[in-house]
Amino acid sequence: MPEYDAVVIGAGNGGLTGALTLAKAGRKVLLLERHNVPGGCGTSFVRGRFEFEAALHQLSGMGSQERPGPLRAILNDLGVMDKLEFVEMENLYRVVWPDTFDITLRAQRDAITETLQDRFPKEKDNIPRFFDLVYGFSMEMIQGLFFKDPNISKEKYPLFFKYALIPTQKVLDEYFRDPFLKAVLSIYWSYAGVPPRWFSFGDFAIMLFAYIEFKPYHLKGGSQALSNALLDEFINNGGEARFNCGAQKIITSGGKVTGVKTEQGDTVQTRSVLSNASMLQTYLDLMDPEQVPKETLESFRSTSIGPSAFSIYLGFDCEPDEIGIQETTNFIAITTDMDEAFARWKTLEQQGVALLTCYDVSDPDFSSPGTCQAAYVTLQYGDPWNLVPPHQYYDAKYRYAEGMMGLAEKVFPGIRGHVEEMEIATPMTHLRYLGHLGGAIYGRDHYAKDTQYFMANTSPVQGLYFAGAWASQGGFQPTLTSGRSSAKAILKSMAKK
């Protein structure tokens, strides 16, 4: 029976960085992926003259060459930077309420403060105070938590200890009165998947801080280029990858991992498994029930499956200008009541907030000359789609998409008349390609109770490790980072033996 130092299940972001980290350390690694392409969310697909970016809107944590962010450092270490070309976005985002309010923020602290003060003169003094808090908090979190200060204490890091778990909404209400200002500042919630009421200020502040300080990025060739580069380097380092072949079973004995049975029916021996599959489904569907510790399943009771997305991929037969698209990142909202907007994610009703990203604004080469494309998305839970009978599925899909297009037309009139290619992905589509229940794109719901302070991402099963959104947070930077960290933990445990 073939033997591997480690088997990685799933070639998503975390699986790829994990597999590559292990292979680069000289370990014999088998990477299993049930789909035919690496990347998971980090992928693209071709329709007509368009190659659509599936998932990446704004890559966080890159930073410039002169001021590298944490993600750039990781990609450097992994040896893939010379194969990739990154594109910086100048602006953070535009937020628009059709016919009501429209604002664009630059990815620069002073510029944001100025723009907001200009538009919200009544809140002139509160705005810089709020950014002092966001920055002060983030600096403390970086020093105290990320750099693991051995003398961490409430006295030394007062902002961190006061604000880490406070709901973002509470802080916004404390600082501001204008509902538009609150919504403009916190609109990333609709991208992160947690409404301000439940978004811990810690998670929110560090996200806003990181996007402003390290800038949003994209890359040439889209996220598929990153996935391909990671896989290529993995193969160059002696890694073995099998596509169209998922894992069928993780074999354990006496609470320890001993091997993996693949979908093709063969079994390999290993003492370490890094699962980039859903953590919940790893326990439910990849292990024999009697091998799963009782308290492990119990611990899932305090969590819920997180949101998926409803995405419309649009290929236009014109340049962005012609349809009035001037920004890469456009949030469109119909309400400032974010709880209301969030509640709609659990229904098939008209969405309250959506995001339209046109990559060609920052990278004119993204689509072929004379064309451009947009990824137009709203988050949504998978549950309402479970209730749609299969033979009404396509009707339901078009009906929901029609609502989205109607919303887009309020901001970009005439946009529909230039659509040459359109592909629609529901939570069921994401379920199909990602292999996650509910089509969850960010793993579990990430409320304050689901943050790193309460969740263990280690397993009581010896030799079982996790990477991806379930093991950390949703998004490219967190998942890419999680694979790297878990692989390091595996290497550490191997060194001990």
């Binding site: 035919n36 392409v37 693209s44 071709v46 190659e51 194969k83 938590l145 051995p150 961490i152 204490s153 409430k154 200890f161 006061k162 604000y163 880490a164 778990l165 406070i166 060739g221 889209g222 598929q224 280029a225 391909n228 580069a229 596509f243 169209n244 919940l280 489904q281 439910l284 569907d285 029930p289 399943l297 119990e298 899932f300 009771r301 305090s302 969590t303 819920s304 479970n386 299969p390 033979h391 599925y393 396509y394 078009y398 029609e402 297009m405 529909r416 230039h418 659509v419 040459e420 359109m422 592909e423 069921m428 379920l431 199909r432 292999g435 229940l437 304050a448 109770k449 302070y453 309460f454």
Partner: protein, 387 residues
């Protein structure tokens, strides 16, 4: 000291801790979700289908419809215009072919596929001559991008069908007329001879009963005394019948030559790309006539294909790599067999292949040396990494 020791000092920590304890007792037991993923996927997007031929219907002298019912369970939904990739074993070679579903999506009990004999098509020959009621097949789930999108395609549609290219349109016509959907369809149906017309009777009946469905048949090789439209489906004919082509959405399905001709005709009339949707048509009949084919390689050229860590085989340069692999009993995943869907995506380690224009490779796949073997022709000795 680490965060662990002071974590309870974070404001709100204790409250959340107690909330979690309550939830652990009374929260949802996710154990109930065991097996749920496969069950959901099976309803909408099964990995493959097992089908049984329940009936064989003679359509024309050269065409039959195979009515397929599920061996067990249900058929997944599809969009009119989509196809299934049917796995067939002929003379010891396992291969697959795509067939558009010709029955309506509203018909949830069976899929019809309508097969016409192709000149040298050993698969169609097999399906028409050898297949009997009760035979079982494996197929893919419905796939493909040739379908109507109500958000952008409007309600005024022109279908241009050539020969057996009528099959996806039949599904669309049956759906629109059957459900009474608010769309107007005019079908231009090009056939070589009058007795080549598939579904002739049904098309006549439907156009008589539905004011919003009309049809013009065009015969390219009419017998003496034929009184209908003859020749090709020209822009002039379309103008004559439809009285203006703007604001209409055109769908084309038929042989390679028809696309080249009709698309050009429509372009001349000022119809933009976004108003034409074309079904793919598989590998070219003769790859050596494709633009860019290296002249020094003739039709009989043979090269070697080595699979990393495996065997080496000799293949013809003018046959798609996927077909050559299948001839040697090496099955790689396939679906569209037209270079589009990327399911067969394979890494080329050494050597060169020719991929005709229209093969839909991702930019970064090109950069990292991936090819689509269903439309890749090895023009030197090559080495590949099987997926």
């Amino acid at each position: 000291m680490s965060l662990k020791d002071v974590i309870h000092d974070i404001e709100g920590y204790q409250n959340i801790k107690s909330e979690i304890e309550v939830l652990k007792k009374y929260g949802f037991d996710h154990g109930a979700r065991r097996g749920q993923f496969d069950a959901i996927l099976e309803m909408l997007h099964p990995k493959s289908l097992r089908l049984r031929v329940s009936e064989i219907i003679d359509e024309t002298k050269t065409t039959k419809t195979l009515r397929m019912v599920p061996v067990q369970g249900y058929l997944p939904p599809f969009q009119a215009g989509q196809y299934i990739s049917l796995v067939v074993e002929v003379g010891g070679v396992v291969t697959s072919r795509d067939y558009s579903i010709s029955s309506s999506p509203s018909q949830i009990g069976y899929f019809d596929i309508t097969v016409r004999r192709v000149g040298d098509g050993f698969v169609s020959e097999h399906l028409l001559e050898e297949t009997k009621q009760g035979d079982e097949f494996t197929s893919s789930a419905p796939a493909g991008n040739f379908y109507y999108n109500p958000l952008i395609h409007g309600r005024d549609l022109v279908f241009i069908a050539g020969g057996s290219g009528i099959t996806p349109f039949m599904s669309m016509i049956r759906e629109v007329t059957g459900r009474g959907l608010d769309r107007r369809i005019h079908l231009f149906y090009g056939c070589q001879w009058p007795d080549d017309i598939i579904f002739g009777q049904e098309i006549d009946d439907l156009s008589r009963r539905h004011a919003d469905f009309t049809c013009t048949t065009v015969i390219s090789e009419p017998p003496v005394g034929y009184r209908g439209h003859t020749g090709f489906i020209t822009a002039r004919l379309m103008q004559e019948i439809l009285g203006g082509l703007s604001e209409k959405m055109f769908f084309l399905c038929g042989p390679e030559a028809m696309y080249a001709f009709c698309r050009e005709e429509l372009k001349q009339e000022g119809i933009p790309e976004r108003k034409m949707r074309t079904e793919m048509y598989g590998p070219p009949r003769n790859v050596t006539t494709c633009p860019g084919w290296p002249e020094h390689i003739d039709a009989d050229a043979r090269v070697s294909v080595s699979m990393k860590g495996g065997e080496t085989i000799m293949v013809r340069s003018t046959e798609p790599l996927m077909n050559s692999l299948e001839r040697h009993g090496i099955a790689i995943p396939s679906l569209c067999r037209s270079g589009e869907c990327s399911l067969c995506r394979t890494k080329l380690l050494k050597g060169r292949v020719f991929q005709p224009e229209g093969v839909k490779l991702r930019k970064s796949d090109r950069q990292f040396g991936y090819i689509h073997p269903c439309m890749a022709y090895p023009i030197s000795d090559i080495e590949i990494l099987l997926p």
